[in-house]
Symmetry: C2
Subunit: 260 residues, 2 copies
């Protein structure tokens, strides 16, 4: 397929590379910042542009990988080309594009990307939605060229997924930060925790998380929880978080308690 990439952030970068690797032709890369456009365009052998008036009509698909609030304004400028367009946002409705084209869809990769870390795209879940069945089918076939995990997901489901991903990705990463800060305060190296962080994530690759729950809260080990609260006595915000999470874990249904 001939694909135009709108955006040069993490999602745009990883998607463009995956498309290119699968043999698709990346026509242009657009970014407001010419340097960013040029850097990504160079990697995927595309033309860099920083002005949407320079868009080539020799393309089959606009991938709109910009921040949520820019999706509408960008799509509006792509209207004259009358091409298939898809946004990549977990939080944005399919119909955010309906005013700007008759052919629109969603191409949402459910993964966290950073420019410094390569991702095996074959394992990235791609959540596809189309304005009609034909579009869904086109996007689904495109998705299957870069990933083994392609799902048809409607806008309501995708918003739920996006919320769940905040609990599964953003919040755990913040808890890692808390742990790292606790260690740093006591001159302990974060290396000590890296293996347990990885193992915790690996455990739920084959199992559900509830039966994997361990720790003082699931055992209702009040002595240890009180000792932890004591260690946090100068950190009221962390004490509050510790209490809230522990109370919720204690309430986990007994039937969900497994080995610990």
């Amino acid at each position: 397929m001939r694909i135009t990439i709108i955006g040069s952030g993490n999602v745009a970068t990883h998607l463009a590379a995956a498309f290119k690797n699968a043999g698709h032709h990346i026509v242009q890369v657009y970014s407001r910042d010419m340097q960013n456009a040029a850097l990504l365009a160079y990697h995927v052998k595309a033309e860099p542009i920083n002005n949407l008036t320079e868009i080539s009509s020799e393309t089959d698909l606009f991938i709109i990988a910009v921040k949520d609030s820019a999706i509408g304004p960008v799509a509006e400028q792509l209207t004259p080309y009358k091409k298939l367009m898809a946004h990549t946002s977990g939080a944005t409705d399919l119909y955010a594009l309906s005013a700007f084209s008759d052919e629109f869809g969603v191409f949402y990769p459910l993964q966290t990307f950073s420019k410094i870390q390569a991702v095996d795209f074959r394992n990235v879940p791609l959540c596809i939605e189309g304005a009609n069945e034909e579009i869904a089918s086109i996007l689904q076939q495109l998705a299957q060229t870069i990933s083994n995990k392609v799902y048809l997901v409607d806008s309501a489901q995708r918003k739920v997924l996006h919320l769940a991903a905040v609990f599964a990705n953003n919040f755990p990463n913040y808890l890692y930060t808390i742990a790292q800060q606790i260690l740093a305060k006591h001159d302990l190296d974060f290396d000590l925790l890296r293996p347990i962080i990885l193992e915790t994530a690996q455990k739920v690759q084959e199992n559900l998380p509830a039966p994997m729950q361990t720790g003082p809260a699931i055992r209702n080990d009040e002595v240890t929880m009180n000792n932890h609260q004591q260690l946090l006595k100068d950190e009221p915000a962390l004490q509050q978080l510790y209490t809230l999470l522990s109370q919720d874990i204690i309430k986990l249904d007994n039937t969900e308690k497994g080995n610990r």
Copy 2:
């Protein structure tokens, strides 16, 4: 070394196997439950016992891998043997053993274990403490036979580590449970989130977590956060947790914000 394992839980099981694999002789495995003792003893070619009066004195080290509240009562019964003893608890002081032996230490593996999942022990951080330098050295050398990550950690530091591990392991696993429950409520498969969970943990293997933070809170994306609150409107406990974690992430120092 000749090692006697007191306990048959997850820590006892994985430690005994690692010692055995490294060529040590497991003399006996003790558990109150003879079936549990027999199962582990069979795997490490040891004698199973379920009565501490049957302890053999032909050993060099008692590894006390029982729940925290049982460490004292068990150690008391091992006093007559006058052998080196070490507990494996992150939350328990070294001196919990001082009344029961002149030779005592701590052998704390900073990892989460489950009986159903094998662990590469060479990557498990082992936190060692001894009542004196000689004992620390003996336990350190033993630790090095099973792990490449051996640390000398005193009781105060170990308690901090144990607290940090709750934030890095127990609480993230609970957040995975919340995410799984949100998906299940909307008939979505947890498989959709497994890759992002693993990637989030892998990202911090080489990087610190704060610069890896992504999501609506670090962007202060109020539209998305309000939409998420709306999706959680029937779940006041989750709303509270979402608000608390998001507010803390928003407060993350600007200098710690990296790519997102």
